[in-house]
Symmetry: C2
Subunit: 204 residues, 2 copies
């Protein structure tokens, strides 16, 4: 419905916002008009922070997570267990696992999963560097914590084959019913996995 912009500057800014995922032209216009109502220095802060991040972003040379320095705070924390590596797809996943406070090892951020449909092969993600970390020794367990999708499963299997020559325990996070879920609303594959992977109930 909305097509005629009164200003080319406005239209260009809307165009740029509308390129972001999940942002349609109507939302883009609303966001741009919101920025127009804000103080000029607040908007400079917004564009400054985004531009600076893109120009100066670094990735941890160990785990490939986003980092301000050469090595990220997690990899340089010597109180963490360097013998256990949790393999995740992206930064959000590191933050999600950290939020559980159940993991005290290090991470390896693949930066994606193998997805032939999207043209992403093993060479496009950080698998070789994972193998190198393991080959260097000192790693006892690699935990695969990718999403439970076709692409995640493919990537798990590829890593499994790549790590086969090394003396390292390879595990995968449990698939099962979510905490708080009713059985009747759980899909049958998940429910089947949760029965296969049942654990001993010790009354706790």
């Amino acid at each position: 419905m909305i097509q005629q912009y009164p200003s080319q500057l406005l239209e260009k800014a809307v165009d740029e916002f509308a390129k972001l995922p999940g942002i349609g032209r109507k939302t883009a216009l609303r966001l741009v008009l919101h920025l127009l109502r804000r103080d000029a220095d607040e908007v400079e802060r917004f564009v400054g922070a985004v531009g600076k991040l893109r120009r100066e972003v670094k990735y941890c040379s160990v785990c490939h997570n986003i980092s301000d320095g050469d090595v990220c705070p997690i990899c340089s924390d010597h109180s963490r267990d360097g013998a256990t590596i949790c393999v995740v797809e992206n930064v959000q996943d590191v933050m999600a696992v950290e939020a559980t406070m159940q993991f005290h090892g290090l991470y390896h951020v693949l930066g994606g999963v193998i997805s032939p449909m999207d043209g992403i092969g093993p060479g496009d993600i950080e698998i070789d560097s994972l193998v190198e970390r393991v080959a260097r020794g000192g790693v006892k367990e690699v935990i695969l914590a990718l999403g439970s999708t076709m692409e995640g499963d493919t990537t798990n299997f590829y890593i499994y084959r790549k790590l086969a020559p090394y003396d390292v325990r390879l595990s995968v996070i449990a698939r099962g019913i979510s905490v708080g879920d009713e059985l009747e609303y759980t899909d049958e594959v998940t429910l089947g996995r949760s029965i296969q992977n049942r654990t001993l109930f010790d009354g706790k």
Copy 2:
């Protein structure tokens, strides 16, 4: 849940995105990580377009709509009816009315509505400049096209009193059931208004 950012640059960019209306921290992170995956010059184009708009934005000296020049394309279009002014709250509303292709007059963009709760009084929006436009003569009709809210009604009434001394027809857009709506799902106030404001049915 998500709190520990691996990078301060990342966190600052997320902070800025999360200040936008309707964007939570999780969405902000997703948008920022999307920008990180894009080419650096694409991101420069994004921040450039937004920054340039905020720095160089102008408002039409006649109708106060956003404009690249001193007078907007609508106000400088002499084929339009300068005797009819449609009063709207903001830029989106101009675009929405334009999209109907039912209006061929000029606009007056208030830049808000009177809202004591938000500390917005008559002096904070472009009412005086509307009165000046009418006082200058040549205006036959002012159409009030504000939202059907308490604030819109208050603003309508304030403009009504301000324009009372002038020989100008004041009208308000019709309130009624939406095209495609069922009667049983229409609220009673709207339905009542649609009966009060019924128009002659001529079979068309």
